[in-house]
Amino acid sequence: MMSGLRALTGREIKKWYKQPFVLFMTIVQPIIWLGLFGKAFNLSALAGDNPVAREMFLAQFGVSDYFSYMAVGMFSFVVLFATMFSGMSIVFDRRLGFLSKVLSTPASRGSVVLSKVLIAVFRSLVQAGIVLAAATALGLQFGAVFHPAYLLGVFAALFLMSMGMSSLFVAIAIRSTRMETHMAVANLLNLPLLFGSNALFPIDSMPGWLQAFARVNPVTYATDAARELLLTPRGAVIWGNVANDFLFLGAFAAVFATIGIVLSWRYLSK
């Protein structure tokens, strides 16, 4: 089991760093997202110098500059998109026969699925790290009581979200014989998950039905935990909120990873 898992995960990592262009895009892409969205949607500038408007903005967003608000949302954003694209390599492995060959070896079915999930998690966390570095360079304002050790918490939250998401997309991809099918399904899921969350905009201002969706959306919880830890919008970390976020994300990761891996396993053992 371990030997197969190590080898399959190693294959993916090698494939990644042996293609400098893909690696380059992985690094550049989040920076572009951040620069474009973060700087273009400068919502806090709408308030201008008007003190009442600034007060309203602060009340809504919890921070006084929109860039910091959405830069944190961008972590969840890149994790979401990185996990979606990672599922696609399975479609190719399947169509080109690599999958059948692996299945004819004693390597466990579980390691086939797990290697895909792990590499998706790994890639998405690397991308989130790049976003963090880029956001800091572009002027992310950390909260008053921020401590570097909180970063561990941020990545733990993103890890849990990524684990659940990757398992979901891998379970979908493993059934797709065509790239287009997988793309269509993934696109259908991704944008609602992004916009139906607090990643770009606070959910309190959304209509009730969207709020209901946002409150079961893991993107909301990962973003909330990251924001709480990095920006400390209420002047101090509210640990109860963070614990709540982690509880939800932990359950999400456990349930979806189990479902995804079990479904894929059963599918591969037909």
Binding site: G4, G10, R11, K18, R95, G97, S100, S104, P106
Partner: protein, 334 residues
């Protein structure tokens, strides 16, 4: 008495309405080269997938190297190697990387894996190219790499699914030389599928002809050809089926059998070259016009036509299968 390495009883696999493999029963003896011959979509790859435990049968049993494919799939996987129809090596990795990856999937210890990989790459003359990415390999090199990968766990039985698909004639011959060399070196049993009749004829000790999921004939190529009982003359005659013609042709002493086939008539005769003029005379004697005539020595082609009622030609498989074949063919080109 040679032991059987593969024993198959009533193996069946359905995909929805389609019965891809329909109760096949056969055995493969230790050390032989056994071939599955049939058109695309006849059930060859499905059979290989079941014997290599990639796919579960709906009914029937099979043992490979003494292990049951349903009860001990891991045991089966340890004792077999598979060279699939497709080029499965990862193009973005080097030949050596691919060998070591396959070795790890079989849990071969690292040091041993390096030793075996180097030895196998040497045998298939890829030692110099081992450090290059597979995307730079030619079709023949890729096929040799697939062979080497399939042998990394020292299998007792090697499964070859269309081992020369898409290769030109010269490369095909070269690939077969490597296959024979490896078979002798490691004393393996080979189970192969092909839709090239000459290949089955030259390479296999025994051949099973499979059609619509069923085995219609199984024997050595020589015995299959001998079963035709002589040469074959095919004639096409103007006008529809003709009772008088059948009677007249049957009257010729060296004609053993005659029957309508594919809009014409197929005759089994003792000596094709000498009998053909007599047949033509007999037909003309009835005031009928012969539009076409051909004489054939018995080949597996003829055996195939005889057993299935049609010539072996390309048939459409599933869309997914067709895609993979196209990819294989495209990559086979240098």
């Amino acid at each position: 008495m040679v032991a059987n390495v593969i024993e198959v009883q009533g193996l069946t696999r359905r995909f929805g309405e389609l019965t891809a493999v329909d109760g096949v029963t056969f055995e493969v003896r230790e050390g032989e080269t056994f071939g599955f011959l049939g058109p695309n979509g006849a059930g060859k790859t499905t059979t290989i997938n079941m014997l290599t435990t990639v796919l579960r049968p709906n009914a029937g049993t099979a043992t490979v190297a003494g292990r049951d494919i349903a009860k001990d799939p891991i045991g089966v996987r340890r004792s077999i190697g598979l060279v699939p129809q497709e080029y499965t090596a990862d193009e973005d990795l080097t030949g050596m990387d691919n060998m070591l990856l396959t070795a790890a999937l079989y849990a071969v210890p690292k040091a041993e894996a390096r030793k075996r990989a180097a030895e196998l790459l040497e045998l298939v003359h890829l030692a110099d190219a081992a450090g290059r990415n597979v995307e730079t390999y030619s079709g023949g090199m890729r096929r040799r790499l697939e062979l080497a990968c399939g042998l990394i766990n020292r299998p007792k039985v090697l499964f070859l699914d269309e081992p020369t698909l898409g290769l030109d004639v010269q490369t095909r011959a070269a690939v077969w030389e490597y296959i024979r060399l490896l078979k002798d070196q490691y004393r393996m049993t080979l189970f192969m599928t092909t839709h090239y009749l000459e290949e089955a004829d030259q390479q296999c000790d025994r051949v099973a002809i499979i059609d619509h999921g069923k085995i219609v004939a199984i024997d050595s190529p020589a015995a299959l050809k001998a079963s035709l009982g002589g040469d074959i003359i095919d004639i096409q005659v103007g006008g529809g089926p003709n009772e008088r013609l059948l009677a007249a042709v049957k009257g010729i002493p060296s004609v053993r059998d005659v029957r309508p086939l594919d809009g014409g008539y197929r005759l089994k005769v003792v000596n094709g070259e000498e009998t053909a003029p007599q047949v033509l005379d007999a037909v003309r004697g009835l005031d009928l016009r012969v539009t076409k005539v051909s004489i054939a020595k018995p080949t597996l082609d003829e055996v195939y036509l005889e057993r299935t009622g049609r010539a072996l030609r390309e048939e459409e498989g599933s869309r997914d299968e067709a895609f993979r074949r196209r990819v294989t063919m495209r990559r086979a080109r240098p």
